[in-house]
Structure formats: C-alpha cells, structure tokens
C-alpha cells in the first residue's frame, strides 16, 4: 500500500472561516475515488443506475415540473427514481433552472455534502447559457463552471416526458461508466473554487464542505 507523499498533499486554505470554526472543518484535500474491484464495476453501475434518489431542493422554475413526475401519471418510480429529503441521503441533484448567486452558495454546499457516487442533472436553458436572464446581475450563466454537470435537459420548461428521457439517458451514461462528475470536481477543485469565489462574495465557508 503506497502512502501519499506529504509534499503532494496540499492543505485546503479554509480562509473563509474564523476561529473557532476553523477547528471544526477538515483541511485535507479530497481525493478522487476509483472503482474498488474493476470486475464488479459493471454490476455496481447497474445497481447505481436503478436506484436514483433525487434530493428535495427546488432551486428554481424547474421544480414545478418535478412534482408531476412523482405522481402516477408519469410515474418516475418505475424507473427507480425516488425523492429524498436531505443531501446526505440522495445521489442525484436536479438543478431546476436558473441559479441566483444566493442559491448558488447553497447549491455548492448541498452538492459537496452529498456522498459519492453523485450525479447532477441540469434542467432548462438557463443552466446552459443563462436563458432569458443572461444579462441579469444576480443569475449565473453557466452552471457547469461552478459544479460539474452530467446531463442537460433543455427546454423552458422541459416537459415531464423530456425529464424522463433525460433520466433514461442518465442511466445509460451511468451504466457505461461515464458519469464521473464527482471525480472531475475533485480533480479540478481549484478551478471550480476560483469560479465560485469570484461570484460568491461573502465566502464564510470551508473550502470543501464534504
């Protein structure tokens, strides 16, 4: 078992915190997680794809179309999609539409608190290029510069059938092993954090909220 070289481990600065909060948060940088047993990975990906728990955070307009998805008419449960009340218990984060700067801070905190494996589905055209609020002083234009996105579903707003098609595509991507958003986030943590800190002016959080 090879131990990581101490010089390679850079500590997180956590300079948004003041004493005594600095004592409560971890300083070691997160590391990307690879598959434990490569041979079993196909079975594990199949299991992950069929048990998606969507976090209960309605960030924007798109949350209105998530509600009909969980009813009997569109029935997302037969695809293995359920709801989950907290970030720690969920694995899919559906970002429903535009994200204002205040919500972006909460999105980042919720995303980092989710446990691996985690996937992000971005709904609507506001996540792609800012949508109709492209020139607004309070909404961000491209969500994938702040957190890693696995799948976009475009529309304004996307119909529940479009959402279901998006989830089906997400499952295919998971089974093919291509949904490595969490690892991408950790590998490029400095770039993501620089983007976030540029927009979120009152940074009073640790650098990684695990």
């Amino acid at each position: 078992m090879r131990r990581a070289n101490r010089k390679d481990e850079q500590e997180l600065a956590n300079d948004g915190l003041t004493y005594p909060d600095t004592e409560y948060f971890c300083k070691t940088r997160p590391v990307p997680v690879g598959p434990q047993f490569k041979a079993m990975e196909a079975v594990r990906n199949w299991a992950r794809a069929n048990s998606l728990a969507v976090q209960a955070f309605g960030t924007g307009c798109g949350a209105v179309e998530l509600r009909p998805l969980m009813t009997a008419r569109y029935d997302a449960y037969r695809y293995g999609i359920t709801g989950s009340p907290t970030p720690r218990q969920s694995c899919v984060f559906v970002i429903g539409g535009y994200a204002s700067v205040k919500t972006l801070k909460r999105i980042v905190v919720s995303y980092e608190q989710m446990q691996n494996p985690k996937f992000v589905v971005a709904l609507g055209s506001c996540t792609v290029n800012g949508g109709m609020y492209w020139d607004s002083y309070n909404t961000i234009n491209r969500i994938d510069h702040y957190i890693p996105v696995d799948l976009y579903v475009s529309g304004c707003m996307p119909r529940p059938e479009a959402l279901l098609a998006g989830f089906v595509k997400l499952k295919e991507l998971i089974k093919a092993g291509k949904c490595e958003g969490a690892n991408r986030y950790i590998e490029n943590l400095d770039w993501y954090k620089a983007n976030q800190k540029r927009v979120i002016k009152n940074w009073n959080m640790p650098d990684y909220n695990w």
């Binding site: 960030t59 949350a63 009997a72 205040k102 909460r106 020139d135 607004s136």
Partner: protein, 391 residues
C-alpha cells in the same frame, strides 16, 4: 394535541412583540427551515429560534430566486417583455400575462375584442383551479397526508393538458398578448373541459371526506395561525387569508375586470380565521372556480375576432403615462404598476405580489408560539410563493 404549560416563566419575555432571546445561554437552538427542505412552499427559508419544541422567534429570508426582473424589463422593449413576464410567479403564471397586457392596453388605448375577454377569463379561472389543486396537495402534505398530493397533482395535470391544447404550453403559456389572445379555442374544447371539471368535482368530494373530516387534520389545523381582524389592514393581508376572518372583499367583485360583472358568484367568507378555516374557504373557492368555468363556457360569444391588430411591435412606442391594474389571484390582490415615458422601453414596472406581506410580517408574527412541526403547515396555509416576493 398536547397542552402547552401555562407557566410561562421558562420562556423568554416578549418586549414590543419580539422575544428577548440570549443565544449564548444554552436554552435555545437556532435552526434554518432552509432552502433545501421538503416542507416549504418554494425556495425561501425561515430562521427559527426554538426553545424545546416551540418557536420563539422567526425571521424570513428570501432572495434565492431574485432575478432582477424589474431591471431586466427596463432593458427590453414592450413586446419583448411579454414572454418574460409570465415567469415571475412560477406556479401561477397566467395572471402576470393578463395584468401586463391590461396595463399596456390601458396606456396605449387598445380595445380588446369581446371574445378575447371571455377567453382570457376562462384561462384565468382554469389557472386558479390548477393553482388551488397544487396548493391543496401541499397543505395536506405539510400535515403528513401525502396521498392527497398525488391525487390533486394528477388532476392538475389534466388541466395542464387543456392548457396545452389552448395555448401550446403546459406551465408558461405566453398567450395573452396586449390586444387579445394569440389563438381561439380549438374544436371540441368545451366538451373536454367539462369532462375534466367533472373529474375534479368528484375528486373534491373525496377530499372533503378524507381531509376536511379527518380528525388528525382537524386536531392539527384548528387554532393554528390565528389572524386577528385588526391585523388585516395593518399588515395589508388580502385574498383568502383575509376572507377567512370574515371580511368580505374580493377584487373580482369590488373592482370588476374582464367579464366578471357579467358572471354570478358570491364572495366566500369564513369566521374562525385559522388554518382549518382557510382550507375550507379555499376548498369552497375551488367549487366556485368550477362553477365560473361552466358559466363562462355557457355565455361566451361563439365567434368574433380574438385579437386586435397591433402596430409594428418592433417600433412600438406607448404614450407616456402611468397606471395600476390589479386582479384577484389565488393568494390575494396582485397588481402591476407600469410607468411609460413615451420611448421604446418601459420606464418602470413594479409588481405587487400578495406574498410580499404574507411571507414577511405576517409569517414572522404568526410563527411565534407555534410548534416546530406545524410551521410547514402554517406557511402553506398562508399560501406564499417566493418568486413574486423577490421577482
């Protein structure tokens, strides 16, 4: 329901309506009933200070959905604002379209044809019904009864199908242009509407048995969130919240707009202004919506133009002036204040959402003294939608 101890010596004293709380003494816990929560009516949060199970202080925080609409609308021409406007109040967009169109028509002096008025009114009443259905699911779900949410959201979906037939979109219709509506009703629409209304009526009968006669709902909702009569004008409370106190005011009756002066309906009031009474008033208003939809379909003129031709909208200058138009949406009085200075762009558009007063001063006052488990139910019973607070 358990009884609260009448010995208030262990609770903080109240000075000027606000409790004096010392957070460093380890009697109190501050939690965020926050933006990531299954029990709120949208993306807003409450900062609660608890003493045991009882809320002693509450602060509302909004701003999570602030897009700067009023600033964006000053940058777009009058016709470019028309698709933007419906996204201000996300679960109930049709009222925004109607009010913007009505304001522009009043400033520009455009006459709307008769049939267009009736179609607009039908769209608004269907929108009220859909919004009430979604609300009812939320109110029951806040007290733990999530079956009703499944029923009502499905029936709302039937209404959204009808909207899609009529306008082309399920949620955001972009249908009421200044000058009329964008298209007439499709063939056979009235029969399909009647079929859906029958389904909704049958559902409401079942909901009356399951929810309004439910002993758990009655035990939890009666006495929760009592609004005093002298709070109404002091806080600017409108809509069913105010009518449940016994005050008979309704914008549709007092300042009739569209074709409401040709329809027969009564203003529904209640007496005990708690959560149960508000639920009852809204339930009766749902029946009223169904009745109004049937009246409108019966009395609508069968043919006629549905749109007044507009001047070249790319170079459309509205004469200078200002106006305020209002409508009765599910939550209360919604109004648009438009100021024009004669140029291609609006000077100022201010949106008066009813949730502005319901979510802030009223919620902060009513939350003090309630149980933490009932806060979600209280918030949903005031029927606040965060997007229209912060636009």
């Amino acid at each position: 329901m358990f009884e609260r101890s009448s010995d208030r010596s262990r609770y903080p004293e109240v000075v000027d309506g606000k409790p004096v709380v010392d957070l460093d003494s380890e009697k109190y816990v501050k939690i965020w009933h926050g933006p990531q929560h299954p029990g709120i009516t949208g993306n807003m949060s409450l900062e609660l200070i608890l003493c045991g199970d009882e809320v002693v202080d509450c602060k509302t925080h909004v701003g999570y959905l602030h897009r700067g609409f009023e600033k964006l609308m000053e940058r777009r021409t009058w016709i470019q604002n028309f698709p933007v406007v419906c996204r201000i109040a996300v679960p109930e967009p049709a009222f925004n379209e109607y009010l913007y169109a009505a304001g522009v028509e009043e400033l520009a002096g455009i006459q709307v044809p008769e049939r267009a008025q009736w179609i607009r009114n039908l769209n608004l009443e269907m929108m009220r019904l859909a919004s009430f259905l979604a609300w009812l699911g939320g109110q029951a779900g806040a007290f733990g009864n999530s079956t009703i949410g499944q029923w009502t959201v499905t029936h709302r979906d039937y209404l959204l199908d009808l909207f899609e037939e009529m306008t082309g979109g399920r949620i955001y219709h972009m249908y009421m242009v200044p000058g009329g509506v964008r298209s007439g009703l499709p063939d056979g629409f009235e029969e399909r509407l009647e079929a859906v209304l029958k389904k909704v009526e049958k559902l409401l009968k079942e909901i009356e048995l399951v929810l309004l006669n439910n002993s758990v709902f009655k035990a939890r909702a009666v006495g929760l969130g009592y609004i005093d009569k002298d709070m109404i004008d002091r806080y600017g409370i409108t809509g069913p919240n105010q009518r449940a106190c016994g005050i008979k005011r309704d914008v549709r009756k007092d300042c009739p707009y569209l074709v409401y002066d040709q329809l027969d309906f009564e203003v529904i009031t209640g007496t005990a202004s708690d959560t149960y009474e508000r639920t009852l008033v809204r339930y009766q208003e749902m029946h009223q919506c169904i009745d109004l939809c049937r009246q409108i379909v019966g009395r609508m003129p069968k043919d006629g133009p549905f749109h007044q031709p507009l001047p070249n909208v790319l170079h459309w200058r509205i004469p200078p002036g200002e106006t305020y138009v209002k409508a009765e949406c599910t939550r209360g009085e919604k109004g648009y204040y438009l100021v024009s200075d004669g140029s291609l762009y609006p000077r100022r558009i201010c949106i008066r959402g009813p949730s502005y007063t319901h979510a802030f001063p009223v919620m902060e006052k009513l939350a003090i003294g309630t149980d933490i488990a009932d806060i979600a139910g209280l918030m949903v019973s005031l029927h606040t939608y965060p997007p229209e607070i912060e636009r």
